[in-house]
């Protein structure tokens, strides 16, 4: 955790749940290391709840290292990677080279069947404070220059992005007593599906505090723009999470929030979220002290900006393997994203696929109809990005289906069967939950009374008793003020048993809330999935392909992004409907070829599985 001391948030919490559903680590570690758990967007509907927590940096590091170092069959070696070891490509796959290991800074070699690069902000990283620039991946760490040069020489299209981090403030120098205090949720909602609770009780957790900027802050920023080269540069930074300088410049005469967040249980540091700044250090201190509550604040470490290389993500496939170098996978900021959660989401997919690739198994790809992870990777690989990409719930077109509460039923089974990345314990828990939910929903559908009777049974509900219509228990559960507890009190037999597990009761309520809309969404999802099922041959050379009528512009776009499915191709801007149909011909020929190769026994089993899964989704 090299920037903010927190995990999750709106949209990001969804990613956390999905990473966890695939047995990724960060969610479980956060349940052991958090110091302030709070779900955002509580009042806006469970589809957009944002699970979030302040995390103790030290604890997170300890717990993560313990977990990693105790993972069987895993060797951990620390060292800076300077170069890649490349060999001849495998003829049956596309790509000019194949990676077979890495060269470390000390010249030693580590051989590998596949390699995942997660370079963060280190590729030709440059730290900026005021007018000073230093080569560094982050404060105190050397950048990776050799590796960046290698990638560029191989022919990767490289871009440059920037981000920033706020100064750190001494905790004892802040006057919290005059600020708004924010207390954590009670009870805490864990990130992981396999945890019922987090490691710490709500009353033992730490609060956060809220303060605001003021016109004096604006003045200091505006008077010193000439001392601030990070802000003036044309390198693209995020439009969200902007530095205080860009906030002042873009929205003058406004007051902005500053959250004072603890960095750890026994840490002396406060992280002032919202104050990311690249002014010279002494001006940063001056700016901080004109903020309410920070009048006597002591700056321990200045804020700074980071500029770094990223590889245009249209050069990777949805399995995160690069088009250019076989068995080389990219994940995280190297693909132009920002945030721990976005990085973790790519990390788990890259890891799974690096392993599947070695075992000659088909890649594990999540569609945008299945998860935020799918939305993230599809956006990156088909559209690319020119600013640090962050997840929002508004990026997901099937937001009502892709909820934090149901990530396990969307992904855990696929992870278990196709990727082998899910533990038995998690698989069983998810299976139990899934069958309980199905049973509960059909039970709720089967109980039907007249609305007048429901009104008598649950007087506190807003059911209209004017017209007497038959209502299913599931419809009653849709009312905002009705939950499983109330419903089970009204109809104890057979509903009581569904209230014994809190998670189950809450999930039934959520399923009821969205039931009517989900039916329609399911139809749309199927239409998208139909196009996703039509795979484009990977070895298609779009630039020289004859017997196909495609404009040069379309050819270039397809050549660069190498979409894997008709669905992905149709989302590339500038690829026309007619071009799509021409592509369909190739899908058809490939399918016939593949069909001839994969005769009945295997496909029948696959087909069977698919149908079962699809039925249960409805």
């Amino acid at each position: 955790m090299s920037c903010n001391p927190s995990f999750g948030g709106i949209g990001k919490g969804h990613l956390m749940r999905e990473v966890d559903a695939l047995d990724g680590l960060c969610s479980r570690i956060c349940d052991q290391s958090g110091i302030h758990y709070k779900v955002l967007n509580r009042r806006k509907g469970p589809a957009v709840w944002g699970l979030r927590a302040q995390i103790d940096r030290k604890l997170y590091k300890q717990n993560m290292q313990k977990e990693i170092l105790n993972t069987p069959l895993l060797t951990v070696q620390e060292g800076a990677v300077e170069d890649l070891i490349l060999t001849e490509p495998e003829p049956e796959h596309t790509g000019k080279y194949r990676v077979s290991g890495v060269v470390l800074a000390d010249g030693s070699k580590v051989y590998a069947e596949s390699v995942v690069l997660t370079t963060g902000t280190f590729l030709r990283g440059m730290i900026v404070i005021g007018l000073e620039m230093h080569p560094a991946g982050r404060l105190g760490d050397q950048p990776a220059v050799g590796l960046a040069q290698t990638l560029e020489k191989l022919g990767f299209v490289v871009g440059r992005l920037k981000t920033g981090t706020p100064p750190r403030i001494a905790k004892e120098s802040v006057n919290f007593s005059i600020l708004n205090k924010q207390t954590p949720d009670n009870p805490s909602i864990p990130f992981s599906f396999i945890n019922q609770t987090v490691w710490i009780k709500p009353e033992d957790q730490l609060p956060c505090y809220l303060t605001h900027t003021n016109p004096r802050v604006d003045e200091i920023v505006l008077e010193n723009l000439h001392l601030n080269c990070h802000v003036k540069e044309t390198t693209r930074g995020p439009r969200y999470c902007p530095s205080i300088e860009s906030k002042v410049l873009r929205f003058p005469n406004r007051v902005h929030q500053v959250w004072l967040e603890p960095e750890g249980m026994d840490s002396d540091l406060i992280y002032p979220q919202g104050l990311s700044v690249t002014l010279p250090a002494e001006l940063q201190e001056k700016m901080i002290t004109c903020i309410r509550g920070l009048e006597n604040a002591k700056m321990i470490q200045p804020g700074y900006g980071v500029q770094y290389d990223y590889m245009d993500p249209r050069q990777i496939s949805p399995s995160l393997e690069t088009h250019l170098v076989q068995r080389l996978f990219f994940a995280g900021q190297i693909n132009g994203t920002t945030g721990y959660e976005e990085a973790a989401a790519q990390g788990v997919i890259a890891g799974i696929n690096a392993s599947l690739r070695v075992r000659h198994k088909p890649p594990f790809v999540i569609s945008r109809t299945e998860g935020y992870i799918g939305v993230l990777i599809d956006d990156l690989t088909t559209l690319g990005t020119n600013e640090p990409y962050r997840m929002f719930t508004s990026r997901a077109e099937f937001r009502l289906s892709l909820r934090p509460d149901n990530a396990d039923s969307r992904l855990t089974f696929r992870g278990y069967k196709e990727a082998g990345c899910v533990s038995q314990q998690r698989y069983e828990r998810a299976s139990w939950m899934k069958s309980s939910l199905e049973e509960g929903i059909s039970m709720l559908k089967s109980i039907e009374f007249l609305s007048t009777k429901w009104k008598n049974l649950i007087p506190e509900s807003s059911i209209s008793s004017g017209k007497s219509l038959p209502l299913r228990a599931l419809d009653v559960l849709k009312y905002e003020e009705v939950d499983m507890e109330l419903l089970a009190r009204a109809v104890p037999e057979p509903l009581k048993k569904y209230t014994q597990c809190r998670e189950l009761a809450e999930r039934l309520k959520i399923e009821a809330t969205y039931e009517s809309v989900l039916f329609h969404q399911q139809q749309e999802i199927k239409e998208v999935q139909r196009d996703e099922a039509l795979q484009l041959p990977k070895d298609l050379d779009y630039l020289t392909l004859k017997d196909i009528s495609l404009s040069y512009e379309v050819r270039e776009k397809l050549h660069f992004s190498r979409p894997q499915t008709i669905g992905a191709a149709s989302r590339i801007p500038g690829v026309t409907a007619a071009a799509i149909v021409n592509l369909l011909r190739f899908v058809k020929t490939t399918q016939q070829r593949q069909a001839a190769m994969n005769r009945v026994p295997k496909t029948d089993q696959q087909l069977h599985d698919t149908d079962r899964l699809e039925e249960s989704q409805l």
Partner: protein, 493 residues
């Protein structure tokens, strides 16, 4: 994705006669990947005896039953005669042959229905609109039937090769139609609505994604609410304005006007091929507005005969003149009739000055009143005289008595009506039914938005509403919404 692929591969490999698939045939059959049910006019262009309207998708059976209610589904692949009526109003539409093709043994591999209706534009448009009102049905996108057939392994490779051209042609046609329809007032309206909605949605999305992190302006949601309310009213008014939608169903309003005794009634009778109006040599014979539906050069039209325009007559005739003038204001097309042998008379001059000349001028919203000037009684003119009046606007010569000049008039009428109603082939019918479908869908979704307590549901309703509008106006991705968010708000982590 892989699972989906294998499904398709195995299906294609085993062909449509796999025994396992056949056991699932019949109503309600749902192939994996099938979604909404689509409909379209699938017979050829132009006016024809029979038009074929097709549906494909899981709700086809339901659609067939809805339009032929309360009858059961006909036996599979057997033509049956049924009375079609609008499921909302019960209004009869046509007596038609219907066919039921349960999937997978159908053109697309899905459940399909076919309606063989009489080929008039009014009937076709009525049936398309009725289908659009059945839940789960939407107008097909360009090439969508063929795409579905392809997806279900119903097309051979050679057939697919023609598909790109077809889709290209269809999208081009649809684009041109959309452009034509979106040209002018209606287009501006639609674009305005889409902008309003995009902004409202962006604000709701900003509230969902950012409000807890940073300080959005107070009342972002209230603002969105009030925008949506205004939009709802505007859409409602537009949809209730039956005129636009009905021009093709009930016909364009063609008003025959002119000074007394110019031969208006004779022209009406000639065009309608029946004695609608009493004809006499006496000026002022027609005193009220007489309407008759006619087929003019292949277009449905409502032909109105009006009282001759003159002043200083008795109260009954004056009322007739008043009604005639009112009707003129509502006309889609004016057939201005003058007596060719009497052009210099005060009545003729007055008519030219007050009706014909002003019609040629642009009104404030930039359009012109459509008008055809017909000089009747050409048989009374000395032979070879074509330079009647040097200042006369462009005109047509006609003799209602001999029928001379009628072909020329019909040709001119066809041109005017084509411009008014659009091409009578698939174009306007489809675009109109699409238009109505999407506007109604948008309005319904806005209703859902108001009811939704859960903000994610509310935003979903707005997304659906916006999806409908962007079908009409094009454009509108997530990036557009994010652009508005970042332009309007300063949002932090």
């Amino acid at each position: 994705m892989w699972r989906g692929l294998w499904t398709l591969v195995s299906r294609a490999a085993r062909g449509p006669h796999s025994p396992r698939l056949c056991t699932r045939q019949g109503s309600g059959y749902r192939a994996p990947g099938s979604g909404a049910t689509i409909f379209a006019l699938s017979s050829g262009q132009g006016r024809c005896g029979i038009a074929v309207i097709r549906t494909s998708g899981p709700a086809s059976g339901h659609a067939l039953q809805s339009l032929t209610a309360p009858r059961d589904l006909p036996p599979a692949r057997k033509a049956c005669l049924r009375l079609l009526s609008d499921p909302r109003s019960g209004e009869p539409l046509d007596r038609a042959l219907v066919l039921w093709f349960p999937g997978p043994q159908s053109f697309t591999g899905e459940d399909c229905a076919e309606f063989h209706v009489h080929g008039g534009p009014a009937v076709v448009s009525g049936v398309l609109q009725a289908l659009g009102s059945v839940p789960g049905l939407r107008p097909a996108e360009a090439g969508e039937f063929t795409r579905r057939a392809f997806a279900h392994g119903k097309l051979s490779l050679t057939e697919v090769e023609g598909l790109a051209d077809l889709i290209h042609a269809e999208t081009e046609a649809q684009r041109r139609q959309a452009l034509r329809q979106l040209d002018g007032e209606l287009g501006d309206l639609c674009r305005g609505w889409a902008e309003t909605l995009t902004k409202a949605l962006a604000h709701v999305e900003a509230y969902i994604d950012f409000s807890e992190d940073d300080n959005l302006e107070e009342g972002v949601l209230d603002q969105a609410d009030s925008e949506v309310r205004k939009l709802e009213v505007a859409l409602g008014v537009h949809l209730r304005d039956a005129r636009r939608g009905q021009r093709l169903r009930s016909g364009a309003h063609v008003v025959v006007a002119g000074p007394p005794n110019a031969g208006k009634s004779s022209l009406v009778n000639l065009l309608s091929r029946k004695p609608v109006s009493i004809v006499s040599p006496e000026p002022g014979t027609t005193r009220d507005v007489l309407e008759t539906p006619v087929d003019l050069a292949g277009f449905p039209a409502l032909l109105s005969d009006t009282a001759g325009l003159r002043e200083g007559v008795g109260p009954v005739e004056q009322e007739g003149v008043r009604r005639a003038q009112k009707r003129l204001e509502q006309a889609d097309l004016i057939l201005a009739v003058l007596d060719a042998s009497d052009l210099a008379s005060p009545a003729s001059c007055n008519f030219l000055d007050t009706v014909v000349i002003p019609a040629g001028a642009r009104n404030p919203n930039g359009s012109r009143q459509r008008l055809l000037l017909v000089l009747n009684k050409s048989d009374l003119l000395p032979a070879g005289r074509s330079d009647l009046h040097p200042d006369l606007p462009s005109h047509l010569l006609l003799s209602c008595l001999t029928g001379e000049g009628l072909d020329g008039l019909l040709e001119a009428l066809k041109k005017e009506l084509a411009a008014l109603c659009g091409d009578p082939s698939t174009g306007p019918l489809l675009t109109r039914s699409r238009h109505q479908h999407h506007l109604r869908g948008c309005l319904d979704a806005l209703g859902q938005y108001k009811q939704a307590k859960d903000l994610a549901l509310a935003a979903e309703a707005l997304r659906v509403a916006r999806g409908h509008l962007s079908h009409l106006t094009g454009g509108g991705g997530t990036e557009e919404i994010l652009d508005i968010i970042f332009q309007d708000f300063c949002v932090g982590k």
